[in-house]
Symmetry: C2
């Protein structure tokens, strides 16, 4: 299974609305980095509104993909982080201090424009 | 498997990037109509850029979902229709005459704004 990545202007939008298994997460990481490379996107919004719980593996992949995207020059904004997901991320020591967050996709796009000064 | 539906302002965005089986198509139809109802969205963009071929069942579901969304008050724009998909739709007599189409997601959103006079 693959998570669709939508390109809108300079941004990539992803809404995770399935329970990710390990393979899906790895495939998503690969697909996102490829897409950043192909499109030269300057920003990415990953919306987690529909994700109610994550395990340690998925949390690590998510933390990694944010750092990797950043290395490639694309700023990531995470949106819709639910309480249980926030708890898991912090409990696992996955600190996303420099990662802007927002309530939903619209707010995420606004934040991205601010961050990138566009 | 479910196809994610992204809400952006008054619009719903869908990018179909998987080969749909019958169940996925039916589930998508149901999810989209529910989401239109929940959000009161005025427009929908369905991007088919990654869909290279469709069978008669999926084509029918797609034709139906456009008409159903319209009945519910949401205008649908189809984007990225590939040659083989266009051939299948016409061969099967699924005429989407009143359905605006566009090259990609960005163009689809512009078209939607024009259609809705927003």
């Amino acid at each position: 299974m693959r998570i669709p990545i939508l390109k809108l202007h300079n941004y990539l939008l992803i809404s995770i609305q399935v329970e990710m298994d390990d393979n899906t997460a790895i495939q998503f990481q690969e697909d996102l980095l490829d897409k950043i490379h192909q499109t030269g996107a300057s920003g990415v919004v990953i919306d987690l509104t529909s994700v109610e719980i994550i395990d340690s593996f998925i949390a690590k992949v998510l933390g990694d993909v944010v750092k990797m995207s950043d290395l490639m020059g694309a700023k990531v904004v995470l949106t819709g982080i639910q309480p249980a997901v926030a708890v898991t991320l912090i409990d696992l020591g996955i600190h996303l201090q420099d990662v802007p967050t927002a309530l939903n996709l619209e707010q995420g796009l606004i934040k991205l424009r601010q961050e990138l000064g566009e």
